[in-house]
């Protein structure tokens, strides 16, 4: 069992899922309440990581982070090194990779809040922002927990994006799934099994927590 890779992965997943709460809530809010006619395009873009091969996503993230892109150059001028093959780069890749797993449960739970409550809140003198904070968010608790847990679990198990963006640097970008791959490559099956089992158990525990909280199936796909 490679504990270094294990804790690196847990740290990555915790950072990504926490950031996704902050990033996902505004996106989900917009997707729930916007009446923009081209909204479906944004919905599709947010859902892309569900269907896209992680290598494709990882490839474009790598290009975007590289020193030829404006983002990569800006980061380089700031820190003196590129984002590619760093832990920070891994965080950015994982944010994109797990975005729909946070945004979709958020948006679904915002949309499930009875609109008559929002109307009542408005006629009681609350602005949209106040209503969101005092009515929508508290009533979406289950969706927020679900989004957090799913993006956590999803980040734990990512492989393709990590390999493309982070490479395989021990202690920096080598996550559990890469570690398992390495061990299988070197025919170290018992060690691979040990690590894989840990990942399997953690994922199962996280998911059963989500389902016990919600008691209703979570649907991956276009949300209402």
């Amino acid at each position: 069992m490679n504990w270094e890779a294990f804790w690196l992965t847990v740290r990555l997943a915790a950072i990504v899922s926490t950031l996704l709460i902050a990033i996902g809530i505004p996106i989900a809010y917009w997707l729930t309440y916007s009446r923009w006619r081209w909204k479906f395009l944004v919905e599709a873009a947010v859902a892309l990581p569900i269907v896209l091969p992680p290598t494709v996503l990882g490839f474009y993230v790598l290009v975007a982070l590289g020193s030829r892109s404006p983002l990569g150059r800006w980061w380089e001028s700031l820190t003196g090194h590129t984002l590619a093959f760093t832990f920070e780069g891994l965080v950015i890749g994982s944010l994109l990779y797990s975005l729909p797993f946070a945004v979709q449960p958020f948006a679904a739970s915002f949309g499930a809040v009875d609109s008559s409550l929002l109307r009542a809140s408005a006629s009681l003198g609350h602005s949209r922002a106040q209503t969101f904070r005092r009515i929508v968010l508290p009533l979406s608790k289950a969706g927020l927990v679900t989004g957090f847990a799913l993006s956590f679990a999803h980040t734990l198990g990512e492989f393709g994006v990590v390999l493309m963006v982070g490479g395989n640097i021990p202690g920096v970008t080598r996550t559990i799934s890469i570690d398992i791959y390495d061990q299988v490559e070197t025919a170290n099956y018992s060690s691979a099994n040990e690590t894989a089992l840990v990942l399997l158990i953690i994922s199962f525990v996280v998911l059963s927590t989500v389902y016990s909280l919600n008691r209703r199936p979570w649907v991956a796909g276009p949300w209402k």
């Binding site: 008559s116 109307r119 809140s121 009681l124 003198g125 949209r128 106040q130 508290p138």
Partner: protein
């Protein structure tokens, strides 16, 4: 239409119950849809402090009207003003956001916040006040509505009538400049209803704001109304005191809504100008009714409305009665509604609905199949155009 949203001045809530002289002026045109198609809501009225009943069948545009006043829906054009202040004016391109209008709105589904207690629900609209004042004011309001003991319960833990009280208290505690009530009593039994109406009246004696009260229940009109506005197909078809609007039904929609359970097609067969009455034949059957005289020719066709509560039943052919219409028939059905028995009586092919008390049913031993006589006074028969 492009309408600019102008923020209303943020005024602190008055700390005491000050009587605010406010008049609600509404002039609205708005296209709306209901299951039967799409209509134009086109109304213009003023509502003074006190109850104004908005009366109409479902789909008449009542809820659309309230939504426009509350600012939850934008009218196509028109003007909404309360106490002289414009809330919406299409000409001035003015549209105050709903949350700045200070108009209380209680919808039929109440929309209590499920994650908050009764007290937190009531305090919700007082968010601009300090915590201490918020608590004092909401507790006072809970007491006024006799639900002080429920303040720590969630909406799911209290009864329907209690929820109604919480919803009203929540709307009133914020001292709205006008109050919109969309069938707030519809789901309540009669005793709960009348005690709630009493509480609402008591509150309004000290506040004097316009209260628009939407209903499709004729009884509520008489129980509450200072003024009735009758809405049909998006238009005001009648307006005035309840007894003016409700007792003289010139329009069939009004008649049906104001509780004429019996409405028949009739043909005038004889005029008795000397007695001020005439004889009408119901349908194609041989049932004749003596009705008040109206300007009509023999052979002209009319509609006759009779309230079920204005009819009497007799188990014997009555003698020595002043009532001019005594029709033999047979009881088809007896149904209990609340504390009223609704009897359907077949009189030579015409069915009458008659309302009786439980005691009358028992002492007369009424049951389906029993022969009875239906008695109607001449002036209980109301004539309407076709």
């Amino acid at each position: 239409m492009e309408v600019k949203i102008i923020p209303a001045p943020q005024t602190a809530l008055p700390t005491s119950a000050q009587p605010i002289s406010s008049e609600l002026e509404v002039r609205i045109r708005k296209r709306f849809s209901n299951p039967e198609g799409s209509f134009n809501l086109n109304v213009h009225f003023r509502a003074l402090a006190g109850f104004t009943i908005i009366f109409g069948a479902s789909g008449a545009g009542k809820t659309t009207l309230l939504d426009c006043i509350a600012g939850l829906t934008d009218p196509d054009d028109g003007r909404v003003a309360v106490g002289g202040e414009d809330l919406y004016d299409s000409e001035k391109k003015q549209n105050v956001a709903a949350w700045k209008r200070r108009i209380g709105y209680v919808h039929q589904d109440l929309a209590l916040f499920p994650h908050l207690t009764a007290e937190e629900n009531v305090a919700y609209g007082l968010h601009t006040l300090s915590a201490a004042e918020r608590q004092a004011r909401s507790r006072e309001m809970l007491e006024l509505f006799r639900i002080g003991h429920l303040r720590d319960r969630r909406p799911s833990q209290i009864s329907g009538g209690e929820r109604q009280r919480v919803a009203l208290a929540r709307a009133l505690v914020a001292e709205p400049r006008a109050l919109l009530l969309d069938e707030p009593l519809a789901a309540l039994d009669r005793p709960t209803k009348s005690s709630l109406v009493g509480d609402l009246r008591r509150w309004n004696q000290s506040h004097r704001v316009p209260i628009l009260f939407v209903t499709h229940n004729g009884e509520e009109v008489f129980a509450l109304g200072d003024e009735v506005i009758m809405l049909d197909g998006g238009r005001i078809v009648a307006q005035g005191q309840p007894h003016e609007v409700m007792r003289v039904p010139r329009l069939e929609t009004i008649a049906r809504l104001s509780g004429f359970e019996n409405i028949f097609n009739a043909t005038v067969v004889a005029l008795h100008e000397d007695r001020g009455t005439m004889t009408c034949q119901l349908g194609k059957d041989a049932v004749e009714l003596e009705t008040p005289l109206v300007r009509a020719d023999v052979g002209s066709r009319l509609r006759v409305g009779v309230r079920a509560g204005d009819l009497l039943l007799s188990t014997e052919n009555p003698r020595g009665l002043s009532a001019r219409n005594v029709l033999p028939g047979t009881i088809l059905r007896l149904e209990q509604r609340d504390v009223i028995i609704s009897a359907t009586v077949d009189c030579s092919g015409t069915e009458f609905e008659v309302h009786l008390t439980l005691a009358a049913r028992d002492s007369l031993q009424l049951e389906p199949g029993k022969s009875v006589w239906v008695v109607a006074k001449t002036h209980s028969c109301h004539l309407m155009g076709m």
